[in-house]
């Protein structure tokens, strides 16, 4: 008989706080006031902030629980912070947006928090089953949220596509887990690592690795598993798009990095070759296709595919420098992308959401400050110093050069130059063209403006004084490297 594992909820505290806030919202939703749900957004935000503080307070303590199934080490905590930032920005951006579109509901915030708790669980997974659990807990609420605009065709398409492809991906993942379990007799990371090291070149493990990479490939939207991203990004409410692009990506990367560097460490030569090719193709396809997009949400979807390609460069480089660079990049990318979606979410033209790049003609003349903020996010995405995106790329590509992957780095930097074209085209419209007819108008809310300010501040701070954050990221990956 299998003994029941000891219950050590302390190691799950940040995740449980978010989950608890989610349940609290479901209850509060039934109580008055019924007409407005803004206070529930406040509750959600409070839950996230408490979880954020709890995570920061745990830094350096390194707890393990449930027979090493859940790890609350510095690695998990760093990603908890990233995920909490992503969720907090998404909630701040949601409050006014939902009200404006008449889709305000208590369930929205509850689902966002459930998904967030799944992301956090994923980041602290020490067992393949927890990875599976985390991915499901993260994804199922997002499938619902993506289709929140029930009357829009694009929303239905987004939700359906996201769900079907996501379910496929999870199936691949589960199959991979099964194969690895079959080969090593374990689902726990450390025990897989020990078993795999004892039996190198096991074809079952290699097949399992391949299937895991397919599953994760869907979740991080790397080519060729990126097809869902543009449609989902376009059809989902923009606040949810921001969450999918930042939080869910960070969580999936968190698990992917840990799975590759701990249990599948022995197979590093195999996955390095695979990821080299995936990284090169992902960034090239993302950037080239992004050039052709006129819808900003789709453009940012392809751009996020390209950024995944850059981050995979860090995995190819491997080791602490590569993994640390990815963590730093995730933090920078979260601020930047959430900010960019945040401006788009506030902009309207002729009563519709302004999502086409041509809608932004003359934006700088009407809203100089907001245009400058969006320009700041875009320039950080291009990788212009001294902004967060530049330092992130510098660390990523530096880790690749250090590991000797010069050609991949050349592909990556040339891609960054290609990417400049489509990001700058948005700036061209904002600053260098005049609108035909009615220009774009903004409905800034206090919460939304606060989110944009936090993002902008983060970008500048991470760019000008990166040293402490890099140290934190490097300290965070230490538990993975043995």
């Amino acid at each position: 008989m299998i003994p029941a594992p000891p219950i050590e909820l302390g190691a799950l505290a940040p995740t449980l706080i978010v989950l608890g806030a989610s349940l609290l919202i479901l209850v509060l939703d039934l109580l008055p006031p019924r007409r407005t749900k803004e206070h529930l957004g406040g509750v959600a935000l409070a839950g996230i902030v408490v979880a954020l503080l709890a995570s920061i307070a745990q830094w350096g303590r390194g707890a393990r629980a449930f027979r090493d199934m859940v790890l609350l080490d510095d690695y998990a905590l760093f990603l908890h912070v990233v995920i909490c930032y992503a969720a907090a920005l998404a909630v701040l951006l949601s409050i006014d947006y939902l009200h404006r579109h008449g889709i305000e509901s208590g369930e929205y915030y509850a689902l966002v928090l459930m998904s967030t708790s799944g992301m956090m669980l994923l980041a602290s997974a020490g067992d393949l089953l927890i990875v599976f659990l985390g991915i499901e807990l993260m994804s199922l609420p997002l499938y619902v949220l993506a289709g929140l605009f029930k009357t829009r065709l694009a929303a239905g398409e987004a939700s359906m596509k996201y769900f079907l492809l996501g379910a496929f991906a999870t199936a691949f993942l589960l199959y991979g887990i099964a194969l690895i379990f079959g080969a090593t007799g374990a689902t726990n990371f450390d025990r897989i690592a020990a078993a795999a090291a004892a039996r190198p070149a096991d074809s079952l493990v290699t097949m399992g690795l391949g299937l895991l990479l397919v599953g994760f490939g869907f979740k991080i939207s790397s080519v060729p598993f990126h097809m869902w991203a543009p449609d989902v990004y376009e059809g989902a409410p923009t606040s949810i798009t921001a969450l999918i692009a930042t939080g869910s990506k960070a969580a999936a990367f968190a698990a992917l990095i840990r799975v590759l560097l701990v249990p599948l460490k022995a197979a590093q030569p195999d996955w390095t070759v695979l990821l080299w090719a995936i990284a090169a193709v992902t960034m090239t396809v993302g950037n080239v296709v992004a050039i052709a997009q006129s819808n900003l949400k789709r453009m940012l979807a392809y751009s996020s595919v390209a950024h995944v390609g850059y981050m995979l460069v860090g995995l190819v480089a491997g080791g602490a420098p590569g993994a640390g660079a990815i963590l730093y990049y995730l933090l920078a990318y979260t601020f930047t992308t959430a900010g960019a979606f945040g401006v788009i979410l506030m902009a309207q033209r002729a009563g519709e959401d302004a999502v086409d790049v041509s809608d932004y003609a003359g934006f700088a003349r009407r809203h100089p400050l907001m245009a400058a903020t969006l320009a700041l996010y875009l320039l950080s995405l291009v990788g212009i110093p001294p902004l967060a995106g530049f330092v992130g790329k510098f660390y990523l590509f530096g880790s690749a050069v250090r590991a000797g992957y010069l050609w991949l780095t050349v592909v990556a930097v040339l891609n960054s130059a290609i990417a400049a074209y489509y990001y700058l085209r948005v700036i061209v419209y904002m600053y260098m063209r005049e609108p035909d007819g009615e220009g774009v108008s903004l409905t800034p809310s206090f919460a939304g403006t606060l989110a944009l300010a936090i993002a902008a501040l983060g970008i500048v701070l991470l760019g000008v004084a990166p040293a402490p954050f890099v140290d934190l990221a490097q300290a965070a990956v230490a538990p993975l490297i043995r």
Binding site: L379, I384, P385, F394, V413, L414, M432, V470
Partner: protein, 512 residues
């Protein structure tokens, strides 16, 4: 060393951006206040940079006024700035040209003045940073950051085809600098693994003797591509006519006066000392491209119907001379090359200013639209002649000194090369004088030209300092060359010793 928490050099770099931050708080409808404020900031920066020049010890080849602050200790990148005899001239050229450029835009930039002056001030910090950074990471930060304000200046306040020109400018530069970034990282790790010291500090890296071979050649080429695009060296020049023609006058002045020098400066500061063997190996290629640029630029200038395009292509020709001088790697050639960077900044800057002045009056730049200006605008025509003569290298004016030194240096390397390059000076006389003849002499053929007003006080005020320097350098260049000679000597010695040491150790390896 100093009582201030920051050094003089940092103050000079930071002042324009601080000014931009203050001006950002001024309401946008106060146009005059914004313009005046920006002018005050740039003039103060210039005044602040004068002590750099005066107190700089020209007998010492070392970096002076240097400041080193920890910035990213875990990476080996620091805030390290300092100037030697080469960067000194370019720093002062930059601080000198900025107020001139801003004053030239007094009436021509009416739309979004606030953004314009902020872009110009941030640009100044970026350019100064490029010239004083002694850390490769810091250098790259300034090098890339300075692109963005220039992109806005061309794209927002430029001519009809401005968006195309602005994007072309940025993409060309970014492709070049992307590969340079890889080379910077490769150099960093190679130096780190060889010496155990991971650093981006330029003086430290410059002491490292790299074995000649593929790695050094590739790094040289990556750096050289970034700089060659900026110079621009033929055949990487095609962004330049677009950017120059579309940019507003102030932008053209800064582009020609300062931005192009960032390329030639980069060759001097990074390519020669870091990759001496590759620099020697690729010297003939650079010579060939430089001479092609000299002749090609001159020929293409000759047939331009548009004044601004003519001046733009003449830059390709003039910068070819600079590149020729730098890669001679002898005293005359290098001193001439450095001086010619300053000369080109002054002469071509002045040409763009004056083309801008008649454009403001007539809203056309076509040479065929003018003629007989001498009788309508005598003062303008006289000064324009002086600037043209300076640009074509008339003895007694600045251009002659630089080009003469370059050609003397080139002659020592290869007399035939010098002979071919000298024809460039003849062609320069052809295109400039022929243009001048069509603009200033003859009958007034267009009614619109009959009542053009001559230079006003503002235009005199912004041209006069430039003209004073043009004559000064022509008559007494020693004021300026005295500051650079020691630096240039040290640079030559460094390249030669590093190259020979590397070759010796390479031979030893081969013998083993």
């Amino acid at each position: 060393m100093s009582a201030l928490p920051i050094g003089l050099l940092t103050a000079v770099i930071a002042l324009p951006t601080l000014g931009a931050v203050v001006l950002a708080l001024v309401p946008r409808r106060r146009d005059q206040l914004l313009r005046a404020g920006a002018l005050v900031v740039t003039l103060s920066t210039f005044v602040l940079s004068i002590p750099l020049y005066v107190r700089f010890d020209g007998d010492s080849p070392d970096f002076q006024f240097d400041e080193l602050l920890r910035w990213m200790p875990n990476l080996g990148a620091g805030y390290h700035v300092g100037i030697d005899g080469i960067s000194l001239l370019l720093v002062v050229l930059t601080t000198f040209l900025m107020p001139v450029a801003l004053a030239s835009a007094w009436h021509s930039i009416e739309d979004r003045t606030k953004e314009f002056v902020i872009a110009m001030l941030v640009l100044e910090t970026g350019m100064l940073g490029v010239f004083v950074a002694l850390d490769l990471f810091l250098f790259f930060v300034f090098w890339e950051a300075m692109l963005i304000p220039m992109y806005f200046i061309i794209g927002v306040w430029g001519g009809a085809n401005r968006v195309y020109a602005a994007i072309k400018f940025v993409l060309y530069t970014m492709v070049g600098s992307a590969l340079m970034l890889v080379a910077i990282l490769a150099l960093y790790y190679q130096h780190g693994s060889a010496t155990g010291m991971y650093t981006f500090d330029l003086p430290t890296l410059a002491r490292y003797v790299m074995a000649p071979g593929l790695a050094q050649n590739l790094m040289f080429l990556a750096f050289a591509l970034a700089f060659a695009i900026k110079v621009p060296l033929f055949p990487f020049h095609t962004w330049l006519p677009d950017a120059h023609v579309e940019a507003p006058t102030a932008g053209s002045v800064i582009l020609a006066g300062v931005l192009l020098k960032m390329g030639t400066y980069g060759f001097l500061r990074f390519c020669l000392p870091l990759f001496p063997d590759a620099s020697l190996a690729f010297g003939p290629l650079v010579f060939a491209l430089a001479v092609i640029g000299i002749i090609y630029g001159a020929w293409v200038s000759t047939v331009q119907p548009d004044l601004k395009k003519l001046v733009a292509y003449s830059s390709v020709s003039h910068l070819g001379f600079v590149m020729l001088g730098l890669f001679t790697l002898n005293q005359q050639g290098l001193v001439g090359g450095v001086l010619q960077m300053v000369n080109h900044g002054l002469s071509t800057g002045a040409l763009f200013l004056m083309v801008g002045m008649i454009y403001e009056r007539r809203h056309t730049r076509l040479i065929s639209e003018f003629g007989g200006l001498w009788s309508v605008m005598p003062a303008f025509s006289a000064l324009f002649l002086l600037v043209c003569l300076s640009s074509l290298g008339l003895p007694g004016l600045n251009g002659f000194v630089g080009e003469f030194l370059i050609l003397v240096g080139t002659f020592q390397v290869n007399p035939w090369l010098a002979a071919v390059a000298t024809t460039g000076i003849i062609f320069a006389a052809v295109y400039l004088l022929w243009m001048y003849q069509r603009v200033a002499f003859g009958e007034v053929r267009h009614e619109a030209n009959r009542h053009l007003r001559d230079l006003d006080l503002r235009e005199w005020a912004l041209l006069a300092p430039v003209l004073v320097l043009i004559v000064w350098i022509g008559v007494y260049p020693k004021t300026f060359t005295a500051k650079t000679e020691a630096t240039v000597q040290a640079l030559i010695a460094q390249v030669e010793s590093k190259a020979s040491v590397a070759q010796r150790s390479g031979l030893r390896q081969a013998a083993r």
